[in-house]
């Protein structure tokens, strides 16, 4: 009995099962903090969370809305998986998303007569490319000049927002807005030909399927190809990789470019699948809904694994949709979910110390065992 219990305990606490257990524990902890907050705000946590769950998963329509919100999160999260695995901390999802959306918007606005079969791939493709370009700048700066990519990606976010504001208040503004004198910074509604097809009679669009396919492709890339192996090797240990003959800079830049491309694709998918026009309120979050940051949360939550990002993104998509439902039901602002997301990130990255310690302990134990074995054997002549 005792032996079984010990074995069970050790299996439960192995690094790989901790990888699954810690995010779940972090969610429980964040929801408990949320409950405490709700009690302080004199709202029943049970009622609020029930409204949230109902709003996110209670009906076909709400599930569809959840999946719609999950779509950009998943694309960004998969991009973040690739860049973080390659040792590049891409905080520039917001900017890359905006650039991707702008590129798709430009194609659709200036080529309105193209048929759907040409316009949709063109818009998505340009979004992908624009994001790649926006990701390439910090990637190259890091590889060539050792400039910290966290800072450059943040700066690139700010530059993207200014570009967005300029284009939507100027060249891309809906001509009718200018004529009517209202000057709302948004484009005209896109031609119907650019709308991503709906999957079922809800708001769910084909972008969600695309995101799932992209996640699977990214998994294949990272774990079933040489390129992916090298990207991960560079992220794990650049020095050893260089010794092994891997061009560290090249794979670092590649990780950043792919990451930016997927964030750009997220922007194109959002603008073509949900909004059907581009708009701005002056800030980045106005258009992105902070998907560039929340995608990081989802990626971490999915243990930086593209397939883990799928359930993680659906979960966070549900949180966003559910938070709006909660706001309507119990008058608690949906911004509470942003705060809880922040706590989740903190809990997940802070608890990583236990997993690292365990890995260290196991390595030490194995080294000791290997030493003992080596000592037991006669020395080679």
């Amino acid at each position: 009995m005792a032996g079984i219990r010990v074995r069970m305990k050790s299996r439960l606490l192995s690094p790989s099962s901790l990888a699954v257990l810690t995010p779940l524990a972090a969610v429980v902890a964040a929801l408990l903090v949320g409950a405490l907050l709700l009690i302080l705000l004199r709202v029943s946590p049970a009622e609020a969370y029930a409204a949230m769950f109902e709003g996110a998963f209670g009906s076909t329509n709400s599930i569809a809305d959840t999946l719609v919100k999950a779509t950009p999160l998943l694309l960004v999260a998969v991009g973040i998986c690739i860049s973080f695995r390659g040792g590049m901390l891409n905080i520039g999802g917001e900017g890359q998303l905006i650039l991707g959306a702008l590129a798709a918007t430009a194609a659709i606005l200036y080529l309105p007569d193209l048929p759907s079969w040409a316009l949709i791939p063109l818009g998505l493709g340009l979004g992908f490319l624009a994001g790649a370009l926006w990701g390439a700048v910090p990637g190259l700066l890091k590889a060539r000049l050792q400039v910290n990519e966290i800072l450059t990606t943040i700066m690139m976010n700010a530059i993207a927002v200014q570009a967005l504001n300029f284009l939507l208040r100027g060249p891309m503004m809906d001509p009718e807005q200018a004529l009517g004198g209202s000057f709302i910074p948004q484009t005209a509604r896109f031609t119907i030909a650019a709308d991503l097809p709906r999957l079922i009679p809800t708001r769910l669009h084909a972008g969600f399927l695309l995101a799932i396919i992209v996640a699977i492709l990214a998994w294949v890339l990272l774990w079933r190809t040489t390129i992916g192996f090298r990207i991960r090797a560079v992220g794990l240990n650049p020095f050893a990789s260089r010794r092994a003959g891997i061009r560290v800079n090249r794979y670092g830049v590649m990780a950043m470019v792919l990451s930016g491309a997927l964030c750009g694709l997220a922007g194109a998918v959002t603008v073509m699948g949900v909004n059907h026009r581009m708009f701005t309120d002056g800030s980045a979050a106005g258009f992105t809904g902070s998907a560039g940051f929340n995608g990081i949360v989802a990626a971490l939550f999915g243990q930086l694994h593209p397939l883990g990002a799928i359930p993680a993104s659906i979960f966070f998509g549900g949180l966003i949709v559910g938070a709006n439902a909660m706001q309507r039901a119990v008058q608690i602002p949906s911004s509470m979910i942003t705060a809880l997301n922040g706590l989740l990130v903190i809990f997940v990255v802070s608890s990583d110390i236990w997993r690292r310690r365990m890995v260290q302990r196991q390595q030490k134990a194995e080294a000791a065992r290997a030493l003992a074995l080596a000592g037991a054997e006669p020395a080679p002549p």
């Binding site: 901390l89 976010n157 208040r169 911004s335 979910i337 705060a339 706590l343 903190i346």
Partner: protein, 311 residues
């Protein structure tokens, strides 16, 4: 068009608002500089600024006394800074990511509290301009330099104070040792964790005060996402300023002057898209970061948690 900008009155206006608007950047950048010199990158400045801005505003609104608001911001900043120290120093979390967590927490929490306690935008009287005796009477310069809010003066006073702390005190040496060579400092008996707890907590206080300077001295309002990215700029300004208080001052003034310039361009109705002017400082920051000779000075142990017996 452009001539409109070059009238003495407009130029004076730009200089005056440039000096004023540098305040939040100064507090936040100086705090972050100290933290980074000790080896800790805090990307959560923006979130702490928002919490400080809210706390300062809320208590100023309730009590009518901006000093109580400022005190609240200091307390909130110290608590968040301490929490951040637990996360980055004790729990050794990946700093680039935990900072995003702190940012999201502050962004969401400050908006939640704002909506629950106010709901609509209110104003307070806050710290008004104080004309300094004697200096304030100097023609032209008196108006431009010596007729500001107390929180503005103190931000500039902080520059030499931080310089002295870093370059003329034992604490400054300890801070820099913790960031450059923690193993050696540890061997000489400096408690790396204690130094980093102190710097990260102080950084939290200064970030929070930076936010409060917006809500109770410069703008005297609070709304969701009031800081709109200033905290992230402050982090970049640390690199821009080469981890020195004087560099932080130069960077803060550059950013605030460009901001002032673009708002005057709008006020005067000059048909230059202000977005490009607003883009400029960011582009400049990237260029500055890329200039090769500057980057050697990054603290060697930046973002590396200290583990005894390593390195």
């Amino acid at each position: 068009m452009i001539q409109d900008l070059l009238t003495p009155a407009v130029l004076a206006g730009i200089v005056y608002s440039g000096i004023r608007l540098a305040t939040p950047y100064l507090y936040a950048t100086l705090g972050e500089t100290i933290g980074q010199l000790s080896g800790v990158l805090n990307l959560g400045v923006e979130g702490i600024m928002l919490m400080g801005a809210y706390a300062g505003f809320y208590l100023t609104f309730r009590t009518g006394n901006p000093w109580i608001g400022l005190l609240a911001a200091i307390v909130v900043g110290a608590l968040l800074g301490l929490a951040n120290a637990v996360i980055t120093v004790t729990l050794k979390a990946e700093q680039g990511i935990s900072g995003i967590g702190v940012f999201l927490f502050g962004l969401g929490m400050s908006e939640l509290l704002f909506r629950m306690t106010f709901g609509s935008v209110e104003t307070v009287s806050g710290f008004g301009p104080v004309r300094l005796p004697v200096l304030g009477d100097i023609p032209v310069l008196g108006d431009l330099l010596f007729n500001h809010s107390l929180m503005v003066y103190f931000a500039y006073l902080l520059v030499p104070l931080v310089w002295v702390l870093l370059n003329r005190t034992t604490w400054g040496l300890r801070i820099k040792a913790a960031g450059q060579n923690p193993a050696a400092a540890d061997a000489l008996g400096v408690s790396i964790n204690r130094v980093r707890y102190a710097t990260v907590t102080l950084g939290g206080v200064l970030s929070s005060v930076a936010g409060a300077s917006l809500s109770i001295a410069l703008l005297n309002v609070f709304q969701q996402n009031l800081t709109s990215g200033m905290g992230f700029i402050a982090v970049a300004l640390v690199y821009f300023g080469g981890w020195s208080p004087l560099g932080a001052l130069a960077g803060s003034l550059l950013f605030s002057t460009v901001n002032a310039l673009q708002s005057w361009i709008q006020v005067l109705g000059i048909p230059i898209a202000p977005d490009f002017a607003l883009m400029l400082p960011y582009v400049l920051t990237i260029v500055m970061l890329a200039v090769p000779f500057r980057k050697a000075r990054q603290p060697a142990a930046l973002t590396k948690p200290f583990e005894r017996g390593e390195g």
